[in-house]
């Protein structure tokens, strides 16, 4: 990560207390009393207790925690949908907790937009009117509103749905509208509160991928709330893990998975069985070098193997459909016999999987064969990539490449 980027959002000793006797509760909190003691003495609950961290410009920052951890509350302090009880929130170096109501409205209109779990669309307005709502609030002309909203609508891939009403759209599409509405204000900061949590898993994955693509294109500072570690790892440049209103750890996905700072984070990470999460789709080498059946003869195949340094190549037909594997020793034999094609040496009785198959499910497949596993799309079996046995074992055992090499040698020698 580029540490030279300017700080976009800085949170300093942010405290949020729900209840009537906030002052007393705040004092007790400063004295180091526990949540329970404070609740008993004042009937106040602590939403966020003393969070301090920085979010850099263009960073994709994920705040993760279970429900009740204070993550959504913290997010709402960033645009003061909830008033912080104490502490400061700096945006571009400006303390927004000191801003007047009017300045705050201005900030919300131009600087930051928010996307909600339940979308928050206006049911009595069409899609295009919903998307233009932020501009309308800002007092822009109808002409400009329509133009900008149309651009945002196209960006999220909803062209043609302009005049529908939200209720006519699926959840995923409604959230696209929510995203488009947030984008039309061209804010520098996007606040996303469990934005994809209400969507079904397939749509969720799709939306995550699109958000990543959008982020690459627009380079916003994104603060994304989720309870799903998988999602956090996929999206976040850095992840903050929250528990009981306290930020337990901040770091990249890698750092958090490998060096959990507290027992809580560890428990969280442990619960995530990587074998059940990592799929063929993420593990595969996409667009591998292939031998083409009917086109590449044994010589051509050998040349490709030499060029890539592989001793096995997947074979596809002229429609990119996966047919099997060829091994280098068979290809050499075949070349000696002056065969014209590789039909004879094609091993077609090999496993293939679709992208969403997990490591755990793939493991049994490699015990029966030495060949890699082909990853194909579901219907037509077009080859998408291959998963090598090594990468599969690395993922499953967390041994590194050298360990596996040693183990293999040991096995071969004995």
């Amino acid at each position: 990560m580029d540490e030279n980027r300017p700080v976009k959002i800085k949170i300093e000793d942010l405290v949020l207390i729900f209840g009537k006797k906030k002052e007393k509760a705040l004092q007790m909190l400063k004295q180091g009393k526990t949540k329970k003691e404070i609740l008993e003495a004042t009937q106040c609950t602590i939403g966020v207790s003393g969070a301090s961290f920085e979010i850099l410009e263009n960073e994709f920052f994920v705040i993760m925690g279970l429900s009740g951890s204070g993550k959504s509350t913290l997010l709402r302090c960033l645009n003061r949908l909830i008033e912080p009880t104490a502490g400061s929130v700096y945006i571009n170096g400006d303390d927004i907790t000191r801003k007047t109501h009017k300045e705050l409205l201005d900030l919300r209109r131009t600087e930051m937009s928010m996307v909600f779990q339940k979308f928050g669309l206006l049911p009595h307005r069409t899609i295009i009117e919903n998307i233009a709502f932020g501009l309308e609030i800002r007092g822009e002309d109808a002409e400009i509103r329509k133009e900008k909203a149309q651009i945002a609508l196209d960006t999220v891939g909803l062209r043609g749905f302009e005049d529908q009403y939200p209720a006519q759209l699926s959840g995923g599409m409604q959230q696209r509208v929510g995203l488009a509405r947030a984008l039309t204000n061209s804010p520098e900061i996007l606040l996303m509160d469990e934005a994809f949590s209400a969507l079904d898993p397939l749509i969720k994955t799709e939306m995550q991928d699109e958000l990543i693509a959008l982020q690459e294109k627009f380079k916003k500072t994104v603060v994304f709330i989720t309870h799903d570690l998988d999602e956090a790892i996929k999206l976040g440049d850095r992840i903050a893990i929250m528990k009981d209103g306290v930020v337990e750890q901040i770091g990249s996905a890698e750092e958090i998975l490998t060096n959990p700072a507290t027992e809580y984070v560890e428990a969280f990470v442990k619960k995530v069985d990587r074998k059940t999460i990592i799929t063929a789709g993420t593990l595969m080498h996409a667009k591998p070098t292939v031998a083409r059946l009917g086109k590449d003869g044994p010589e051509g195949t050998l040349r490709k193997m030499r060029a890539t340094g592989l001793d096995v190549l997947p074979v596809v037909n002229d429609q990119q459909i996966f047919m099997g594997f060829v091994w280098v020793k068979d290809a050499i034999q075949c070349a000696k016999e002056k065969e014209k094609t590789i039909h004879k040496i094609l091993l077609s009785d090999v496993p293939s999987v679709t992208t969403e198959v997990t490591v755990e499910e793939m493991l049994p497949l490699i015990s029966a064969t030495r060949s890699p596993i082909a990853v194909v799309d579901g219907e037509e079996k077009r080859l998408l990539g291959i998963v090598t046995q090594n990468s599969l074992i690395i993922e499953a055992t967390r041994f590194d490449e050298q360990d596996i090499q040693d183990l293999k040698e040991q096995a071969n020698n004995s």
Binding site: N79, L81, L104, L105, D106, L107, R108, R109, T110, M112, S113, M114, F116, Q117, K118, F119, G120, L121, L122, P123, H124, F133, G134, E136, I137, R138, Y165, G178, R181, N185, L191
Partner: protein, 277 residues
């Protein structure tokens, strides 16, 4: 049992004080109110009956569909043929005027009650009182303040018919989903923008139900108001009662029912249209 607590005397004193000291104020209201209602009545009565029938049939057809339109056409024609046209138009004018005034107070009160807990705490018991107090009781202060005639009729009607509109406005605004409100706030909407662009449109169906209830309650009160010479169908019904004239009672009663059904279906259709969006 002997009467030990006499709340009634205080109420009587208060009302007497009001009538003695605010006489010019009440007179002013009476004159302006009467003028307003009578002009509206004049418009309805002077417009040829076929134009009114055509107009209502058209609105019913546009809003509520063919069957309600046919009912409106036949119902109003029946009223005309029974000879109650003028009374029906007087009643209609009184209902529309009362409903309009009731809504002018009810909708803002409902909004206020939804926004402020204190307001809600004051308004709610008042509404309970207004709704459960026997309707005839309102006739007494109405007469004391404004003597008899159209305006005291409208006054009693307004008090009696207002509560559902207040309640349903409050309910409608409280029912606006939190996430929609948050979204509007997050885009930097002012409270005025939130009210007019989010809360009122989303509460509209519920508010329209309230308006529908107000109209129907006005209709039931208008008949009672006939007792203080508010005119219209109410007086015909009373005449039927006083003379034990079952024919007259039934015909004028039937006219009230027809008017009620037409107004109910048309206003309900407005609400349903709002929903189907």
């Amino acid at each position: 049992m002997e009467k030990t607590i006499d709340i009634g005397q205080y109420v009587a004193v208060a009302v007497k004080w009001l009538t003695d000291n605010l006489r010019p104020f009440f007179d002013f209201i009476k004159v302006t109110g009467n003028t307003g209602i009578e002009s509206l009545e004049w418009v309805f009565v002077q417009t040829p009956f076929y134009i009114i029938i055509a107009l209502f049939t058209f609105i019913a057809w546009k809003q509520a569909g063919k069957s309600i339109a046919v009912f409106t056409l036949l119902g109003l024609t029946l009223i005309y043929l029974m000879g109650f046209w003028e009374e029906t138009m007087q009643t209609l004018a009184l209902i529309l005027a009362s409903t309009f005034i009731a809504l002018v107070f009810a909708v803002p009160l409902g909004i206020w009650a939804a926004k402020s807990l204190t307001a809600n705490r004051i308004i709610r018991p008042l509404l309970d009182l207004m709704q459960t107090m026997p309707a005839f009781v309102y006739l007494i202060p109405a007469v004391l303040f404004f003597s008899i005639g159209k305006l005291p009729g409208a006054f009693a009607t307004i008090i009696f018919a207002m509560p559902p509109a207040v309640r349903l406005t409050t309910l409608g605004i409280e029912q606006v989903p939190k996430d929609v409100l948050e979204a509007a706030h997050s885009l930097g909407a002012t409270s005025k923008q939130i009210l007019f662009k989010v809360e009122l449109p989303l509460a509209m169906k519920t508010i329209l139900t309230g308006i529908n209830q107000t109209i129907l309650l006005s209709l039931s009160m208008v008949v009672i108001a006939g007792m203080i010479a508010a005119g219209g169908l109410g007086e015909k019904v009373l005449e039927g009662i006083n003379n034990l004239d079952i024919g007259l009672g039934f015909e004028s009663g039937l006219s009230v029912v027809i008017l009620a059904i037409i107004l109910d279906r048309i206003t309900q259709a407005f609400g349903n249209k709002e929903l189907s969006k």
